[in-house]
Amino acid sequence: MVAKLLVVTSGKGGVGKTTSTAALGAALAQAGQNVCVVDFDVGLRNLDLVMGVERRVVYDLINVVQGVARLPQALIRDKRIDTLSILPASQTRDKDALTEAGVGRVIAELREKFDWVICDSPAGIERGATLAMRHADIAVVVTNPEVSSVRDSDRMIGLLDSKTVKAENGERIDKHLLLTRFDAARASRGEMLTVEDVLEILSTPLLGIIPESDEVLRASNLGSPITLSNPASAPARAYLDAARRLCGEDVEMTIPSDRKGLLGKLFPRRAA
């Protein structure tokens, strides 16, 4: 078994990388795939908290990179889906403890054990972010329909095309855009960039549109990926569809909605 290595990245902070890592990881695991989500945000780990395993962390990524612990000792298996594991980041060490060779070794070992390895990148374009994307086969660029997020995503797309192992070997890294916190009503009123605007500016294929929703905060409050805590909610359905697209399924692009009205149920909003 050789895993696909996916990095969830954005440049800008607070756009939904960790939420999306947890949701996509859980969605793939719910589909029967063997998944490991890896937190690369050394010093500011949060994936453990969003996944609800914060009290079960014993060893972390840096312990494994430095040979203090073996990989199986550091992996935490999710109690809700047994095909989902998490490798937490260190909260105390600094990011310089990650070496390229060490990360490469751990990634190679993870690839042997899982179908999918999903790396949650830290914000920024510094060492942690470049190491998280370094070995990726697939990149999910998380973008909000907002100017600073789109600009930073453009920068990350440039880095993905130049600084990854695939790019350096002359291969193309498979890039996808995940548009989060999208509000279709505001976009239609001209108050927010539309899906078409963002796609045209960034020229990157769309993986999914996650609607702005109170359910996202509720899921992180509960410490559960949203596809597990409320799979019927609009953002969860958007993530479940995105995960199916990652597996190669041809799923029609829609913006799921929580509207309760009959019209909303009969005519789900289409996109792009």
């Binding site: 907002e146 100017v147 600009r151 453009d154 976009a187 001209g190 605007d197 500016i201």
Partner: protein, 87 residues
């Protein structure tokens, strides 16, 4: 549009326009930085085959104007080395 149509015009098209201009500029700028780096390395390699020079004595700069761009290459060669080779 709305009752407040004049004071609250659509802002998304403004965002879109600003981003298109900004990113066109930034993409060119980043491409340029890479080009200068590549040129510098290759020039250094060629010169080093004939003259011994310090790594930091090759300066490559590019300035991009509206109608014309200039590439400036400044190489400092030690006198002894240059004279020795010429003799």
């Amino acid at each position: 549009m709305s009752l407040f149509g004049w004071s609250r015009r659509s802002s998304a098209p403004v965002a879109r326009g600003r981003l298109q201009i900004l990113l066109a500029h930034e993409r060119a700028l980043i491409g340029q930085t890479d080009l200068v780096g590549v040129l510098r390395e290759e020039i250094l390699a060629v010169i080093s085959r004939h003259v011994r020079i310090e790594d930091d004595k090759v300066k490559v700069t590019m300035s991009r104007g509206d109608t014309v761009s200039t590439l400036e290459i400044d190489i400092e060669v030690p006198i002894a080395t240059a004279a020795g080779r010429a003799a």
